[in-house]
């Protein structure tokens, strides 16, 4: 089950790292290095947008179609790993 309005957990900090030229998630004594796609999804997990809205926004921004499965699977994985409430 994925949340209707996914929200990045307050226990994780999403931050762009210049030296790594990528976004990372920081948490106690750890760091997850994200690729651009994952970062773009997580940036939009603010508890306001629905999953469908996130998909539409990304499809518009990057002029692609059919991102639903990818977005859902990242949100599901994020939930499993505790990144997403």
């Amino acid at each position: 089950m994925i949340p209707t309005h996914p929200k990045l957990s307050r226990r994780f900090r999403l931050q762009y790292e210049e030296a790594q030229t990528r976004w990372v998630l920081l948490y106690p004594e750890g760091m997850v290095q994200l690729n651009d796609s994952a970062a773009e999804i997580l940036k939009r997990c603010d508890g306001e947008r629905t999953v469908a809205e996130i998909v539409t926004e990304l499809e518009t921004a990057f002029s692609v179609q059919g991102l639903t499965t990818q977005v859902e699977s990242l949100i599901e994985e994020g939930g499993r790993r505790g990144w997403i409430d």
């Binding site: 900090r13 948490y27 106690p28 760091m31 997850v32 796609s37 002029s63 990818q70």
Partner: protein
């Protein structure tokens, strides 16, 4: 993704700290060992046993400079450790600076010295997380192993941490005395609302190396404890993440120590000595640089010490041709040195090492060695062990 229309598959989205192929990518972790002073006397402390001989701590301004340089190089995680970092009364100032620089700040503490006023100041300074150590779930063993009366204090500090809404990693070093209490240790972590519990089996460095015979568990104890941990994992789900670190001596393959030498980890000791591993001070043949004399970028990229075991050039058989060398990088050099006398050997924990039997014997002979007195970490014992200076 800006400027790109490519949307990489999510299956590629999740790379944890991957091994670096570049000889010197950025350091990602800065461990700031602010002081070797500590009010506790733990028998398994990993600090160098010569701590009492190491004087001349870096000043506030020098630490700030180190943090700025490391951040510029790429470090994102910052651990304030020691000894007991709360001994430094400039800790709040350092945390504030670290926070402003964009670090994720971790305080690794025994809890001694953390009262309401300091907790509030650290919160205001932007501290992100606190790791609190316990020695056991019982007052008797906690206080015996640390040679202090700190059990109640730690409980109080744990509540203080939660009252300030910090995530808390509870850390408990395991050994033969407390492995049978692992269920109670987990219950304590749950009762105190820890988000993570690190059940860190003793690794034998520093004082733990001196006291290894007293601490060495049995295989049966470890199997039993791990089974208990797994049962709890099923039961508690995401409520508290349980990390069970199996001790090296009971493994057949070495750990990927420091994720590879000079790969992601940069440690600065209280006296300014920079090391690729906080236990590397004793390794022979290393010219350890000091942040007082050398820019951090040069230390990281060019110093002899940080390049000594970087990559694979140092490797001898069996590592050189081993198909697992990209996974464990040959293991731990400190362990190789302590057990074989040669830091360029494969970590003898590895069953492929010609010295592996030495590890087996250390485990096997431990019970017969317990007539040797246990040594509590103290300045006096440090000077006894290192009379030269």
């Amino acid at each position: 993704m800006a400027g790109s229309t490519e949307f990489a598959p999510v299956s590629e989205a999740l790379s944890m700290l991957a091994a670096k192929t570049h000889p010197a990518g950025p350091p990602l972790w800065l461990l700031a060992e602010l002081t070797y002073q500590c009010p506790l006397h733990c028998v398994f402390c990993y600090n160098p046993t010569q701590h009492a001989r190491i004087k001349d701590e870096l000043t506030t301004a020098q630490w700030v400079d180190v943090m700025r340089q490391a951040r510029k190089l790429g470090a994102a995680q910052l651990g304030f450790s020691g000894g007991e970092p709360l001994v430094r009364d400039d800790l709040e100032e350092l945390v504030q600076e670290a926070h402003a620089l964009g670090y994720y700040t971790n305080l690794i503490t025994s809890g001694v010295g953390l009262n309401e006023a300091r907790a509030q100041r650290l919160k205001d300074a932007g501290l992100d997380h606190i790791q609190l150590s316990f020695q056991d779930s019982t007052r008797e063993l906690n206080d015996f192993l640390s040679h202090t009366k700190t059990f109640e204090l730690k409980q109080k500090v744990a509540r203080l941490i939660k009252a300030h809404d910090w995530p808390m990693v509870m850390n408990c070093v395991l050994h033969r005395h407390n492995l049978p209490h692992v269920d109670q240790i987990i219950e304590m972590a749950l009762a105190l609302d820890a988000e993570y519990l690190e059940l860190a089996n003793t690794q034998y460095y520093g004082w733990a190396w001196v006291n290894r015979d007293h601490l060495m568990p049995t295989h049966e104890q470890l199997i039993e404890a791990e089974a208990v941990v797994n049962r709890y994992r099923d039961k508690i789900g995401k409520r508290c993440k349980l990390l069970f670190v199996v001790p090296d001596y009971f493994e057949e393959r070495p750990k990927a120590c420091m994720n590879g030498w000079g790969s992601v980890f940069l440690s600065v000791a209280p006296d300014g000595v920079a090391m690729p591993c906080h236990n590397a001070r004793d390794l022979p043949g290393l010219k350890l640089p000091n942040v007082r004399d050398m820019a951090l970028a040069d230390i990281w990229q060019k110093s002899q010490a940080f390049n000594a075991f970087r990559g694979e050039d140092w490797m001898k058989p069996p590592c050189r041709t081993c198909d697992e060398r990209h996974k464990d990088f040959g293991g731990c050099h400190c362990q190789a040195f302590l057990i074989t006398g040669d830091a360029t050997q494969a970590d003898p924990v590895c069953s492929k090492s010609p010295h592996h039997d030495k590890v087996v014997q250390l485990v096997k002979k431990a019970p017969a060695q317990r007539h040797i007195p246990i040594v509590f970490r103290s300045d006096a014992e440090s000077r006894v062990l290192h009379p030269e200076a």
